[in-house]
Amino acid sequence: MNRYLLRRLAQSAIAVLGTVTLVFFIQRLAGDPTLLMLPEGATREDIETLRRQLGFDRPVIEQYLDYVWQLLRLDLGQSLVQRLAVGDIIASRLPYTLYLAAAALVVALGIGLPVGVLMAVKRDTRLERLLVAFVLIGQSMPTFWSGILLILFFAVTLGVMPASGVDGFHSVILPAIALGALTMATFARVTRTAVLEELSRDYVPAAQAKGLRFRAVVFSHILRNAATPIITVSALEIANLLAGAIIVETVFAWPGLGQLAVQSIAARDFPIVQGIVLLGSFVAISLNLLADILYSVVDPRIRLEGRA
Protein backbone atom coordinates (compact mmCIF):
# COMPACT_ATOMS: atom_id res chain seq x y z
CA MET A 1 0.00 0.00 0.00
CA ASN A 2 1.50 3.34 -0.95
CA ARG A 3 1.11 6.88 0.32
CA TYR A 4 -1.54 7.73 -2.27
CA LEU A 5 -3.88 5.00 -1.09
CA LEU A 6 -3.26 5.66 2.60
CA ARG A 7 -4.14 9.30 2.02
CA ARG A 8 -7.31 8.35 0.18
CA LEU A 9 -8.26 5.93 2.95
CA ALA A 10 -7.85 8.64 5.57
CA GLN A 11 -9.90 11.05 3.46
CA SER A 12 -12.67 8.49 3.17
CA ALA A 13 -12.72 7.93 6.93
CA ILE A 14 -13.04 11.68 7.46
CA ALA A 15 -15.85 11.82 4.91
CA VAL A 16 -17.74 9.07 6.72
CA LEU A 17 -17.35 10.83 10.06
CA GLY A 18 -18.45 14.08 8.44
CA THR A 19 -21.59 12.47 7.04
CA VAL A 20 -22.47 10.90 10.37
CA THR A 21 -22.00 14.24 12.13
CA LEU A 22 -24.03 16.06 9.52
CA VAL A 23 -26.91 13.60 9.76
CA PHE A 24 -26.88 13.92 13.55
CA PHE A 25 -26.96 17.71 13.62
CA ILE A 26 -29.46 18.11 10.81
CA GLN A 27 -31.75 15.92 12.85
CA ARG A 28 -31.27 18.10 15.95
CA LEU A 29 -31.61 21.31 13.96
CA ALA A 30 -34.86 20.10 12.50
CA GLY A 31 -36.42 20.56 15.91
CA ASP A 32 -37.42 18.21 18.67
CA PRO A 33 -37.65 14.80 17.02
CA THR A 34 -40.01 13.49 19.68
CA LEU A 35 -42.73 15.79 18.40
CA LEU A 36 -42.38 14.25 14.97
CA MET A 37 -42.29 10.76 16.33
CA LEU A 38 -45.44 10.85 18.37
CA PRO A 39 -48.93 10.73 16.94
CA GLU A 40 -50.89 13.98 16.98
CA GLY A 41 -52.69 14.66 20.25
CA ALA A 42 -50.01 13.11 22.46
CA THR A 43 -49.94 14.52 25.98
CA ARG A 44 -47.13 16.53 27.51
CA GLU A 45 -46.29 13.55 29.74
CA ASP A 46 -46.03 11.25 26.73
CA ILE A 47 -43.56 13.66 25.15
CA GLU A 48 -41.48 13.97 28.30
CA THR A 49 -41.37 10.21 28.78
CA LEU A 50 -40.20 9.64 25.20
CA ARG A 51 -37.61 12.43 25.47
CA ARG A 52 -36.10 10.82 28.53
CA GLN A 53 -36.32 7.38 26.97
CA LEU A 54 -34.46 8.52 23.88
CA GLY A 55 -32.01 10.62 25.93
CA PHE A 56 -32.91 13.95 24.32
CA ASP A 57 -32.83 15.69 27.68
CA ARG A 58 -29.07 15.25 27.95
CA PRO A 59 -26.40 17.68 26.62
CA VAL A 60 -26.06 17.57 22.81
CA ILE A 61 -22.39 16.63 22.84
CA GLU A 62 -23.12 13.66 25.07
CA GLN A 63 -25.90 12.59 22.76
CA TYR A 64 -23.56 12.93 19.80
CA LEU A 65 -20.86 10.76 21.33
CA ASP A 66 -23.46 8.22 22.30
CA TYR A 67 -24.78 8.18 18.79
CA VAL A 68 -21.35 7.69 17.23
CA TRP A 69 -20.62 4.90 19.70
CA GLN A 70 -23.87 3.24 18.74
CA LEU A 71 -23.05 3.45 15.06
CA LEU A 72 -19.60 2.00 15.67
CA ARG A 73 -21.35 -1.04 17.11
CA LEU A 74 -23.48 -1.05 13.92
CA ASP A 75 -26.53 -0.28 16.02
CA LEU A 76 -28.92 1.91 14.03
CA GLY A 77 -31.63 1.99 16.70
CA GLN A 78 -35.23 0.81 16.70
CA SER A 79 -37.94 1.31 14.14
CA LEU A 80 -40.71 3.48 15.58
CA VAL A 81 -43.40 1.59 13.72
CA GLN A 82 -42.32 -2.02 13.74
CA ARG A 83 -40.45 -2.24 17.07
CA LEU A 84 -37.63 -4.07 15.31
CA ALA A 85 -33.94 -3.18 15.04
CA VAL A 86 -33.40 -0.86 12.06
CA GLY A 87 -30.32 -2.88 11.15
CA ASP A 88 -32.40 -6.04 10.82
CA ILE A 89 -35.07 -4.35 8.73
CA ILE A 90 -32.49 -2.87 6.37
CA ALA A 91 -30.62 -6.16 6.17
CA SER A 92 -33.82 -7.94 5.11
CA ARG A 93 -34.36 -5.48 2.23
CA LEU A 94 -30.76 -4.89 1.14
CA PRO A 95 -30.34 -8.10 -0.89
CA TYR A 96 -33.24 -7.12 -3.17
CA THR A 97 -31.72 -3.73 -3.91
CA LEU A 98 -28.28 -5.21 -4.45
CA TYR A 99 -29.76 -7.79 -6.81
CA LEU A 100 -31.62 -5.12 -8.77
CA ALA A 101 -28.65 -2.74 -8.83
CA ALA A 102 -26.30 -5.51 -9.95
CA ALA A 103 -28.69 -6.49 -12.74
CA ALA A 104 -29.04 -2.84 -13.79
CA LEU A 105 -25.26 -2.48 -13.79
CA VAL A 106 -24.94 -5.52 -16.02
CA VAL A 107 -27.38 -3.87 -18.42
CA ALA A 108 -25.59 -0.50 -18.20
CA LEU A 109 -22.02 -1.77 -18.58
CA GLY A 110 -22.83 -4.66 -20.87
CA ILE A 111 -24.53 -2.35 -23.37
CA GLY A 112 -22.98 1.04 -22.55
CA LEU A 113 -19.30 0.10 -22.93
CA PRO A 114 -19.48 -1.70 -26.28
CA VAL A 115 -21.87 0.90 -27.67
CA GLY A 116 -19.47 3.68 -26.59
CA VAL A 117 -16.46 1.97 -28.16
CA LEU A 118 -18.40 1.32 -31.37
CA MET A 119 -19.58 4.93 -31.58
CA ALA A 120 -15.97 6.11 -31.37
CA VAL A 121 -14.42 3.54 -33.69
CA LYS A 122 -17.20 3.69 -36.30
CA ARG A 123 -17.29 7.46 -36.25
CA ASP A 124 -19.22 9.12 -39.09
CA THR A 125 -20.91 5.93 -40.24
CA ARG A 126 -24.58 5.00 -40.33
CA LEU A 127 -24.00 2.63 -37.41
CA GLU A 128 -22.76 5.50 -35.27
CA ARG A 129 -25.82 7.62 -36.00
CA LEU A 130 -28.07 4.69 -35.11
CA LEU A 131 -26.27 4.19 -31.82
CA VAL A 132 -26.39 7.90 -31.02
CA ALA A 133 -30.18 7.78 -31.35
CA PHE A 134 -30.32 4.69 -29.15
CA VAL A 135 -28.24 6.37 -26.45
CA LEU A 136 -30.32 9.51 -26.65
CA ILE A 137 -33.44 7.51 -25.90
CA GLY A 138 -31.83 5.91 -22.86
CA GLN A 139 -30.65 9.28 -21.69
CA SER A 140 -33.82 11.30 -22.08
CA MET A 141 -36.46 8.90 -20.74
CA PRO A 142 -37.35 9.63 -17.11
CA THR A 143 -37.02 6.42 -15.13
CA PHE A 144 -40.61 6.26 -13.94
CA TRP A 145 -41.82 6.82 -17.49
CA SER A 146 -39.66 4.15 -19.08
CA GLY A 147 -40.68 1.84 -16.23
CA ILE A 148 -44.35 2.34 -16.95
CA LEU A 149 -43.83 1.96 -20.71
CA LEU A 150 -41.91 -1.28 -20.17
CA ILE A 151 -44.68 -2.64 -17.98
CA LEU A 152 -47.36 -1.62 -20.49
CA PHE A 153 -45.57 -3.17 -23.43
CA PHE A 154 -43.95 -6.33 -22.08
CA ALA A 155 -46.27 -7.18 -19.20
CA VAL A 156 -49.67 -5.87 -20.29
CA THR A 157 -49.61 -5.99 -24.10
CA LEU A 158 -47.27 -8.92 -24.75
CA GLY A 159 -47.72 -10.60 -21.39
CA VAL A 160 -44.22 -12.07 -21.51
CA MET A 161 -42.91 -10.49 -18.30
CA PRO A 162 -44.32 -10.04 -14.83
CA ALA A 163 -45.52 -6.49 -14.20
CA SER A 164 -44.23 -6.25 -10.66
CA GLY A 165 -42.91 -8.03 -7.60
CA VAL A 166 -40.16 -10.60 -7.22
CA ASP A 167 -41.03 -13.90 -8.76
CA GLY A 168 -38.17 -15.78 -10.36
CA PHE A 169 -35.37 -14.60 -12.60
CA HIS A 170 -37.78 -13.03 -15.11
CA SER A 171 -39.01 -10.39 -12.74
CA VAL A 172 -35.69 -8.54 -12.46
CA ILE A 173 -35.38 -7.93 -16.21
CA LEU A 174 -37.80 -5.03 -16.67
CA PRO A 175 -36.80 -3.10 -13.53
CA ALA A 176 -33.12 -3.64 -14.38
CA ILE A 177 -33.67 -2.14 -17.84
CA ALA A 178 -35.63 0.80 -16.43
CA LEU A 179 -32.97 1.43 -13.78
CA GLY A 180 -29.97 0.79 -16.04
CA ALA A 181 -31.05 2.83 -19.09
CA LEU A 182 -29.78 6.20 -17.94
CA THR A 183 -26.55 4.74 -16.60
CA MET A 184 -26.09 2.85 -19.85
CA ALA A 185 -26.41 6.12 -21.78
CA THR A 186 -23.89 7.82 -19.51
CA PHE A 187 -21.40 4.96 -19.85
CA ALA A 188 -21.81 5.00 -23.62
CA ARG A 189 -21.20 8.75 -23.85
CA VAL A 190 -18.22 8.76 -21.53
CA THR A 191 -16.70 5.72 -23.23
CA ARG A 192 -17.16 7.30 -26.66
CA THR A 193 -15.43 10.52 -25.59
CA ALA A 194 -12.60 8.68 -23.84
CA VAL A 195 -11.97 6.35 -26.78
CA LEU A 196 -12.08 9.21 -29.31
CA GLU A 197 -9.54 11.07 -27.21
CA GLU A 198 -7.24 8.06 -27.15
CA LEU A 199 -7.69 7.44 -30.90
CA SER A 200 -6.02 10.78 -31.59
CA ARG A 201 -2.92 9.93 -29.55
CA ASP A 202 0.45 9.32 -31.20
CA TYR A 203 0.82 5.84 -29.78
CA VAL A 204 -2.05 4.63 -32.00
CA PRO A 205 -0.33 4.95 -35.41
CA ALA A 206 2.93 3.94 -33.72
CA ALA A 207 1.34 0.71 -32.49
CA GLN A 208 -0.11 0.10 -35.97
CA ALA A 209 3.35 0.72 -37.44
CA LYS A 210 4.56 -2.32 -35.45
CA GLY A 211 2.16 -4.49 -37.41
CA LEU A 212 -0.71 -4.61 -34.93
CA ARG A 213 -4.15 -4.66 -36.49
CA PHE A 214 -6.47 -1.83 -35.61
CA ARG A 215 -8.66 -4.13 -33.54
CA ALA A 216 -5.66 -5.28 -31.53
CA VAL A 217 -4.65 -1.67 -30.89
CA VAL A 218 -8.15 -0.94 -29.59
CA PHE A 219 -8.20 -3.94 -27.28
CA SER A 220 -4.67 -3.92 -25.96
CA HIS A 221 -3.94 -0.19 -25.81
CA ILE A 222 -6.88 2.14 -26.29
CA LEU A 223 -9.37 0.56 -23.90
CA ARG A 224 -6.94 0.51 -21.00
CA ASN A 225 -5.99 4.14 -21.58
CA ALA A 226 -9.63 5.13 -21.84
CA ALA A 227 -10.44 3.40 -18.54
CA THR A 228 -9.65 6.23 -16.14
CA PRO A 229 -12.59 8.53 -17.00
CA ILE A 230 -14.87 5.49 -17.21
CA ILE A 231 -13.91 4.42 -13.69
CA THR A 232 -14.56 7.91 -12.34
CA VAL A 233 -17.99 7.94 -13.89
CA SER A 234 -18.72 4.42 -12.69
CA ALA A 235 -18.33 5.43 -9.05
CA LEU A 236 -20.76 8.31 -9.50
CA GLU A 237 -23.13 6.29 -11.64
CA ILE A 238 -23.45 3.37 -9.24
CA ALA A 239 -24.36 5.86 -6.52
CA ASN A 240 -26.94 7.38 -8.89
CA LEU A 241 -28.22 3.91 -9.64
CA LEU A 242 -29.00 3.40 -5.96
CA ALA A 243 -30.86 6.71 -5.90
CA GLY A 244 -32.79 5.67 -9.00
CA ALA A 245 -33.76 2.47 -7.20
CA ILE A 246 -36.17 4.50 -5.07
CA ILE A 247 -38.28 5.25 -8.13
CA VAL A 248 -37.91 1.93 -9.90
CA GLU A 249 -38.70 -0.11 -6.80
CA THR A 250 -41.83 1.91 -6.29
CA VAL A 251 -42.98 1.52 -9.90
CA PHE A 252 -42.27 -2.22 -9.96
CA ALA A 253 -43.27 -2.96 -6.34
CA TRP A 254 -39.79 -4.30 -5.72
CA PRO A 255 -39.26 -4.95 -2.00
CA GLY A 256 -35.86 -3.30 -1.68
CA LEU A 257 -34.41 -0.37 0.21
CA GLY A 258 -35.89 2.21 -2.12
CA GLN A 259 -39.38 1.01 -1.42
CA LEU A 260 -38.54 0.83 2.29
CA ALA A 261 -37.34 4.43 2.19
CA VAL A 262 -40.57 5.63 0.60
CA GLN A 263 -42.69 3.64 3.05
CA SER A 264 -40.69 4.88 6.05
CA ILE A 265 -40.90 8.50 5.00
CA ALA A 266 -44.68 8.14 4.63
CA ALA A 267 -44.88 6.48 8.05
CA ARG A 268 -42.49 9.02 9.64
CA ASP A 269 -40.27 6.15 10.71
CA PHE A 270 -37.17 8.35 11.01
CA PRO A 271 -34.65 5.87 12.41
CA ILE A 272 -35.10 3.79 9.26
CA VAL A 273 -34.80 6.78 6.94
CA GLN A 274 -31.67 7.82 8.79
CA GLY A 275 -30.26 4.31 8.53
CA ILE A 276 -30.83 4.26 4.78
CA VAL A 277 -29.26 7.71 4.36
CA LEU A 278 -26.19 6.64 6.33
CA LEU A 279 -25.87 3.42 4.39
CA GLY A 280 -26.22 5.29 1.09
CA SER A 281 -23.53 7.79 2.01
CA PHE A 282 -21.24 5.03 3.19
CA VAL A 283 -21.70 3.18 -0.12
CA ALA A 284 -21.04 6.35 -2.15
CA ILE A 285 -17.84 7.07 -0.22
CA SER A 286 -16.68 3.47 -0.54
CA LEU A 287 -17.31 3.54 -4.29
CA ASN A 288 -15.14 6.61 -4.67
CA LEU A 289 -12.40 4.96 -2.68
CA LEU A 290 -12.72 1.87 -4.84
CA ALA A 291 -12.43 4.04 -7.95
CA ASP A 292 -9.20 5.54 -6.62
CA ILE A 293 -7.80 2.11 -5.90
CA LEU A 294 -8.70 1.07 -9.45
CA TYR A 295 -6.94 4.13 -10.93
CA SER A 296 -3.74 3.06 -9.32
CA VAL A 297 -4.20 -0.47 -10.62
CA VAL A 298 -4.72 0.85 -14.15
CA ASP A 299 -2.20 3.69 -14.19
CA PRO A 300 1.39 2.98 -13.19
CA ARG A 301 2.09 6.70 -12.90
CA ILE A 302 -0.13 6.71 -9.80
CA ARG A 303 0.93 3.31 -8.50
CA LEU A 304 4.63 3.99 -8.80
CA GLU A 305 4.45 7.53 -7.45
CA GLY A 306 7.80 8.20 -5.86
CA ARG A 307 9.62 5.24 -7.43
CA ALA A 308 10.86 6.84 -10.67
Binding site: Y203, P205, H221, R224
Partner: protein
Protein backbone atom coordinates in the same frame (compact mmCIF):
# COMPACT_ATOMS: atom_id res chain seq x y z
CA UNK B 1 20.83 1.44 -60.13
CA UNK B 2 19.53 -1.99 -59.12
CA UNK B 3 15.82 -2.77 -58.83
CA UNK B 4 14.35 -0.36 -56.30
CA UNK B 5 13.18 -1.59 -52.91
CA UNK B 6 10.65 1.19 -52.55
CA UNK B 7 9.01 2.80 -55.53
CA UNK B 8 6.66 5.71 -54.99
CA UNK B 9 4.88 6.92 -58.10
CA UNK B 10 2.81 10.06 -58.31
CA UNK B 11 1.66 9.82 -54.67
CA UNK B 12 -0.92 12.38 -53.59
CA UNK B 13 -2.59 13.10 -50.27
CA UNK B 14 -5.52 15.47 -49.79
CA UNK B 15 -6.83 17.27 -46.75
CA UNK B 16 -10.25 18.56 -47.71
CA UNK B 17 -9.77 20.03 -51.17
CA UNK B 18 -6.08 20.82 -50.69
CA UNK B 19 -3.47 18.49 -52.16
CA UNK B 20 -0.89 18.65 -49.39
CA UNK B 21 1.16 15.95 -51.08
CA UNK B 22 0.95 16.38 -54.83
CA UNK B 23 2.38 13.80 -57.18
CA UNK B 24 5.45 12.75 -55.23
CA UNK B 25 7.66 10.17 -56.95
CA UNK B 26 10.77 8.67 -55.44
CA UNK B 27 12.63 5.43 -55.20
CA UNK B 28 15.00 3.83 -52.74
CA UNK B 29 17.38 1.00 -53.59
CA UNK B 30 18.00 -1.83 -51.10
CA UNK B 31 20.28 -0.58 -48.34
CA UNK B 32 20.17 3.00 -49.60
CA UNK B 33 19.40 6.07 -47.48
CA UNK B 34 17.26 8.83 -48.95
CA UNK B 35 16.80 12.07 -47.05
CA UNK B 36 13.63 14.09 -47.47
CA UNK B 37 14.08 17.76 -46.55
CA UNK B 38 12.02 20.90 -46.75
CA UNK B 39 10.43 23.57 -44.64
CA UNK B 40 7.87 22.77 -42.00
CA UNK B 41 4.49 21.87 -43.47
CA UNK B 42 5.76 20.91 -46.92
CA UNK B 43 4.30 17.42 -46.62
CA UNK B 44 7.23 15.24 -45.51
CA UNK B 45 5.41 13.48 -42.67
CA UNK B 46 2.26 12.94 -44.71
CA UNK B 47 4.34 11.43 -47.50
CA UNK B 48 5.85 9.01 -44.98
CA UNK B 49 2.52 8.16 -43.44
CA UNK B 50 0.95 7.68 -46.88
CA UNK B 51 3.67 5.13 -47.66
CA UNK B 52 2.87 3.33 -44.37
CA UNK B 53 -0.86 3.71 -45.19
CA UNK B 54 -1.28 5.26 -41.76
CA UNK B 55 -2.62 8.69 -42.65
CA UNK B 56 -4.23 10.76 -39.90
CA UNK B 57 -8.06 10.76 -40.02
CA UNK B 58 -8.24 14.21 -41.63
CA UNK B 59 -6.10 13.17 -44.61
CA UNK B 60 -6.86 10.74 -47.44
CA UNK B 61 -5.04 9.11 -50.30
CA UNK B 62 -5.67 11.00 -53.51
CA UNK B 63 -3.81 8.87 -56.02
CA UNK B 64 -0.51 7.25 -56.83
CA UNK B 65 1.16 3.93 -56.20
CA UNK B 66 3.57 2.66 -53.57
CA UNK B 67 5.44 -0.54 -54.37
CA UNK B 68 7.68 -2.29 -51.88
CA UNK B 69 9.79 -5.15 -53.12
CA UNK B 70 7.48 -5.54 -56.09
CA UNK B 71 4.24 -5.61 -54.04
CA UNK B 72 1.81 -2.77 -54.46
CA UNK B 73 0.83 -1.71 -50.96
CA UNK B 74 -2.40 0.00 -52.02
CA UNK B 75 -3.70 -3.30 -53.36
CA UNK B 76 -3.35 -5.07 -50.00
CA UNK B 77 -6.30 -5.43 -47.66
CA UNK B 78 -6.06 -3.98 -44.15
CA UNK B 79 -4.79 -7.19 -42.53
CA UNK B 80 -2.20 -7.88 -45.21
CA UNK B 81 -0.96 -4.29 -44.90
CA UNK B 82 -0.74 -4.70 -41.12
CA UNK B 83 1.41 -7.77 -41.69
CA UNK B 84 3.79 -5.72 -43.86
CA UNK B 85 4.18 -3.02 -41.22
CA UNK B 86 6.92 -3.80 -38.78
CA UNK B 87 8.20 -6.73 -40.83
CA UNK B 88 8.84 -5.33 -44.30
CA UNK B 89 8.76 -1.63 -43.52
CA UNK B 90 8.85 0.20 -40.19
CA UNK B 91 8.45 3.76 -39.11
CA UNK B 92 9.64 5.75 -36.14
CA UNK B 93 7.76 8.89 -35.31
CA UNK B 94 8.91 12.33 -34.33
CA UNK B 95 7.77 12.16 -30.67
CA UNK B 96 9.34 9.11 -29.04
CA UNK B 97 7.66 9.45 -25.64
CA UNK B 98 4.16 10.02 -27.05
CA UNK B 99 4.63 7.10 -29.45
CA UNK B 100 4.70 4.61 -26.60
CA UNK B 101 1.62 3.45 -24.72
CA UNK B 102 2.00 5.15 -21.32
CA UNK B 103 0.30 2.30 -19.46
CA UNK B 104 2.34 -0.62 -20.73
CA UNK B 105 5.88 -1.61 -19.70
CA UNK B 106 8.24 -0.95 -22.62
CA UNK B 107 9.37 -4.57 -22.69
CA UNK B 108 5.88 -5.75 -23.45
CA UNK B 109 5.57 -3.15 -26.20
CA UNK B 110 8.64 -4.60 -27.90
CA UNK B 111 7.36 -8.14 -27.36
CA UNK B 112 4.11 -7.11 -29.08
CA UNK B 113 6.07 -6.16 -32.18
CA UNK B 114 7.71 -9.60 -32.26
CA UNK B 115 4.45 -11.47 -31.66
CA UNK B 116 2.72 -9.51 -34.42
CA UNK B 117 4.95 -11.29 -36.91
CA UNK B 118 6.39 -14.44 -35.39
CA UNK B 119 4.79 -17.49 -33.92
CA UNK B 120 6.89 -17.88 -30.82
CA UNK B 121 6.25 -17.99 -27.11
CA UNK B 122 6.17 -14.84 -25.01
CA UNK B 123 9.36 -16.03 -23.34
CA UNK B 124 11.22 -16.35 -26.64
CA UNK B 125 9.92 -12.97 -27.76
CA UNK B 126 11.08 -11.44 -24.48
CA UNK B 127 14.57 -12.84 -25.05
CA UNK B 128 14.65 -11.24 -28.50
CA UNK B 129 13.43 -7.96 -27.01
CA UNK B 130 16.15 -8.05 -24.40
CA UNK B 131 18.82 -8.69 -27.02
CA UNK B 132 17.45 -5.85 -29.13
CA UNK B 133 17.50 -3.44 -26.18
CA UNK B 134 21.16 -4.31 -25.70
CA UNK B 135 21.76 -3.75 -29.39
CA UNK B 136 20.32 -0.22 -29.22
CA UNK B 137 22.56 0.54 -26.28
CA UNK B 138 20.20 0.58 -23.32
CA UNK B 139 22.11 -0.17 -20.13
CA UNK B 140 20.58 -2.57 -17.61
CA UNK B 141 17.96 -3.81 -20.12
CA UNK B 142 16.39 -6.36 -17.77
CA UNK B 143 15.32 -3.61 -15.42
CA UNK B 144 14.30 -1.31 -18.30
CA UNK B 145 12.03 -3.97 -19.80
CA UNK B 146 9.76 -3.75 -16.77
CA UNK B 147 9.65 0.03 -16.69
CA UNK B 148 6.98 2.35 -18.07
CA UNK B 149 7.66 5.10 -20.63
CA UNK B 150 7.34 7.81 -17.98
CA UNK B 151 10.28 6.28 -16.14
CA UNK B 152 12.52 6.62 -19.22
CA UNK B 153 14.17 9.70 -20.73
CA UNK B 154 13.30 10.91 -24.24
CA UNK B 155 16.53 9.45 -25.60
CA UNK B 156 15.77 6.09 -23.96
CA UNK B 157 12.26 6.10 -25.41
CA UNK B 158 13.68 6.80 -28.86
CA UNK B 159 16.05 3.84 -28.47
CA UNK B 160 13.05 1.71 -27.52
CA UNK B 161 11.19 2.94 -30.62
CA UNK B 162 14.20 2.05 -32.77
CA UNK B 163 14.33 -1.38 -31.12
CA UNK B 164 10.63 -1.87 -31.90
CA UNK B 165 11.09 -0.71 -35.50
CA UNK B 166 14.08 -2.94 -36.22
CA UNK B 167 13.38 -6.08 -34.20
CA UNK B 168 11.79 -7.89 -37.14
CA UNK B 169 14.57 -6.74 -39.47
CA UNK B 170 12.50 -4.70 -41.94
CA UNK B 171 14.04 -3.92 -45.33
CA UNK B 172 12.96 -0.28 -45.08
CA UNK B 173 13.02 2.04 -42.09
CA UNK B 174 11.18 5.34 -42.28
CA UNK B 175 12.55 7.74 -39.67
CA UNK B 176 10.51 10.93 -39.32
CA UNK B 177 12.78 13.47 -37.64
CA UNK B 178 14.11 10.85 -35.25
CA UNK B 179 16.17 13.31 -33.24
CA UNK B 180 14.23 16.59 -33.28
CA UNK B 181 12.68 16.05 -29.86
CA UNK B 182 16.02 15.19 -28.24
CA UNK B 183 18.87 17.30 -26.92
CA UNK B 184 22.08 17.65 -28.88
CA UNK B 185 24.32 14.99 -27.31
CA UNK B 186 21.51 12.43 -27.38
CA UNK B 187 20.83 13.39 -31.04
CA UNK B 188 24.38 12.45 -31.97
CA UNK B 189 24.10 9.12 -30.13
CA UNK B 190 20.82 8.21 -31.82
CA UNK B 191 22.18 9.07 -35.27
CA UNK B 192 25.30 7.01 -34.63
CA UNK B 193 23.03 4.15 -33.54
CA UNK B 194 20.91 4.33 -36.72
CA UNK B 195 24.07 4.41 -38.81
CA UNK B 196 25.55 1.39 -37.06
CA UNK B 197 22.33 -0.63 -37.32
CA UNK B 198 22.03 0.30 -40.97
CA UNK B 199 25.56 -0.94 -41.61
CA UNK B 200 24.92 -4.17 -39.72
CA UNK B 201 21.48 -4.99 -41.12
CA UNK B 202 21.54 -3.42 -44.56
CA UNK B 203 18.22 -1.69 -43.94
CA UNK B 204 17.26 1.00 -46.41
CA UNK B 205 16.26 4.31 -44.85
CA UNK B 206 13.88 7.10 -45.70
CA UNK B 207 15.07 9.83 -43.39
CA UNK B 208 13.02 12.94 -42.83
CA UNK B 209 14.91 15.84 -41.36
CA UNK B 210 15.28 19.59 -41.16
CA UNK B 211 18.97 19.27 -40.58
CA UNK B 212 21.45 19.51 -43.51
CA UNK B 213 24.23 18.26 -41.24
CA UNK B 214 22.26 15.08 -40.64
CA UNK B 215 21.70 14.75 -44.39
CA UNK B 216 25.41 14.99 -45.14
CA UNK B 217 26.15 12.50 -42.38
CA UNK B 218 23.51 9.89 -43.06
CA UNK B 219 22.12 10.00 -46.58
CA UNK B 220 23.18 8.82 -50.03
CA UNK B 221 20.57 10.79 -51.88
CA UNK B 222 18.36 13.72 -51.06
CA UNK B 223 14.87 14.79 -52.09
CA UNK B 224 13.90 18.41 -51.55
CA UNK B 225 10.19 19.07 -51.00
CA UNK B 226 8.31 22.28 -51.44
CA UNK B 227 4.54 22.68 -51.25
CA UNK B 228 3.81 18.97 -51.31
CA UNK B 229 6.00 18.32 -54.34
CA UNK B 230 9.53 17.08 -54.79
CA UNK B 231 11.37 19.93 -56.50
CA UNK B 232 14.86 18.49 -56.67
CA UNK B 233 16.40 15.09 -56.22
CA UNK B 234 19.95 13.80 -56.52
CA UNK B 235 23.02 12.40 -54.83
CA UNK B 236 23.80 14.29 -51.65
CA UNK B 237 27.20 15.65 -52.60
CA UNK B 238 26.32 16.35 -56.20
CA UNK B 239 23.36 18.34 -54.97
CA UNK B 240 25.38 20.16 -52.32
CA UNK B 241 27.91 21.10 -55.00
CA UNK B 242 25.36 22.25 -57.54
CA UNK B 243 21.66 23.03 -57.23
CA UNK B 244 19.25 22.94 -60.15
CA UNK B 245 16.21 24.42 -58.40
CA UNK B 246 16.11 27.97 -57.01
CA UNK B 247 14.44 26.79 -53.79
CA UNK B 248 17.24 24.33 -53.01
CA UNK B 249 19.82 26.95 -53.84
CA UNK B 250 18.32 29.49 -51.47
CA UNK B 251 17.79 26.81 -48.84
CA UNK B 252 21.47 25.87 -48.85
CA UNK B 253 22.65 29.45 -49.18
CA UNK B 254 20.79 30.34 -46.02
CA UNK B 255 22.96 27.87 -44.10
CA UNK B 256 26.15 29.34 -42.60
CA UNK B 257 28.61 26.72 -43.82
CA UNK B 258 28.15 23.07 -44.43
CA UNK B 259 31.52 21.92 -43.17
CA UNK B 260 31.95 24.28 -40.28
CA UNK B 261 28.73 24.69 -38.41
CA UNK B 262 26.86 21.54 -39.21
CA UNK B 263 23.73 21.02 -37.21
CA UNK B 264 21.83 24.00 -38.50
CA UNK B 265 18.11 24.14 -39.16
CA UNK B 266 16.78 25.31 -42.49
CA UNK B 267 16.20 28.99 -42.10
CA UNK B 268 13.41 30.61 -43.99
CA UNK B 269 13.73 32.20 -47.35
CA UNK B 270 12.13 35.58 -48.00
CA UNK B 271 8.36 35.31 -47.90
CA UNK B 272 6.41 32.71 -46.05
CA UNK B 273 5.08 29.32 -47.05
CA UNK B 274 1.54 29.99 -48.28
CA UNK B 275 -1.38 28.54 -46.36
CA UNK B 276 -2.13 25.03 -47.56
CA UNK B 277 -5.36 26.06 -49.26
CA UNK B 278 -3.78 28.81 -51.31
CA UNK B 279 -1.07 27.28 -53.45
CA UNK B 280 -0.70 29.36 -56.62
CA UNK B 281 -1.25 27.74 -60.02
CA UNK B 282 1.83 26.69 -61.97
CA UNK B 283 5.04 26.28 -59.99
CA UNK B 284 4.10 26.45 -56.32
CA UNK B 285 7.32 28.33 -55.54
CA UNK B 286 6.64 31.17 -57.99
CA UNK B 287 5.56 33.88 -55.51
CA UNK B 288 8.90 33.57 -53.70
CA UNK B 289 11.14 32.76 -56.66
CA UNK B 290 13.62 35.38 -57.96
CA UNK B 291 13.80 33.65 -61.37
CA UNK B 292 10.06 33.35 -61.94
CA UNK B 293 8.77 34.06 -65.47
CA UNK B 294 5.21 34.16 -66.84
CA UNK B 295 5.18 30.48 -67.68
CA UNK B 296 5.89 29.63 -64.00
CA UNK B 297 2.54 31.16 -63.04
CA UNK B 298 0.53 28.95 -65.39
CA UNK B 299 2.33 25.63 -65.93
CA UNK B 300 3.71 23.31 -63.27
CA UNK B 301 7.23 22.16 -64.22
CA UNK B 302 7.76 18.36 -64.22
CA UNK B 303 10.55 16.70 -62.26
CA UNK B 304 13.06 16.05 -65.05
CA UNK B 305 16.77 15.28 -65.46
CA UNK B 306 18.74 18.51 -64.96
CA UNK B 307 22.49 18.35 -64.38
CA UNK B 308 22.60 14.66 -65.32
CA UNK B 309 20.27 11.67 -65.48
CA UNK B 310 20.46 11.07 -61.72
CA UNK B 311 20.01 14.70 -60.75
CA UNK B 312 16.39 15.81 -61.20
CA UNK B 313 14.76 19.20 -60.81
CA UNK B 314 11.30 20.65 -61.36
CA UNK B 315 12.02 24.11 -62.74
CA UNK B 316 11.52 25.81 -66.09
CA UNK B 317 14.50 28.09 -65.63
CA UNK B 318 17.23 25.66 -64.48
CA UNK B 319 19.54 27.09 -67.13
CA UNK B 320 19.49 30.49 -65.39
CA UNK B 321 20.57 29.20 -61.97
CA UNK B 322 23.90 31.04 -62.25
CA UNK B 323 22.02 34.34 -61.91
CA UNK B 324 21.38 33.50 -58.26
CA UNK B 325 25.11 33.57 -57.50
CA UNK B 326 25.43 37.21 -58.37
Amino acid sequence: MNAPLLLVEDLSVAIGAARVVDGVSLSIAPGEALALVGESGCGKSLTARAIMRLLPPAARHAGGRVTLDGRELGALDADAMADMRGSALSMIFQEPVASLDPLMPVGRQIVEAVLAHRRTSRGEAAKLALAMLEEVGIPDPVRRMAQYPFELSGGMCQRVMIAIALICRPRLLIADEPTTALDVTIQAQILALIKRLRRETGTAILLITHDMGVVADMADRIGVMYGGRIVEQGEVFALFRRQCHPYTKLLLKSLPSLEGERRTRLSTISGTVPDLHSWPPGCRFNPRCPLAVDRCRTDAPPLAPAADAAHLAACWETARMAELDR
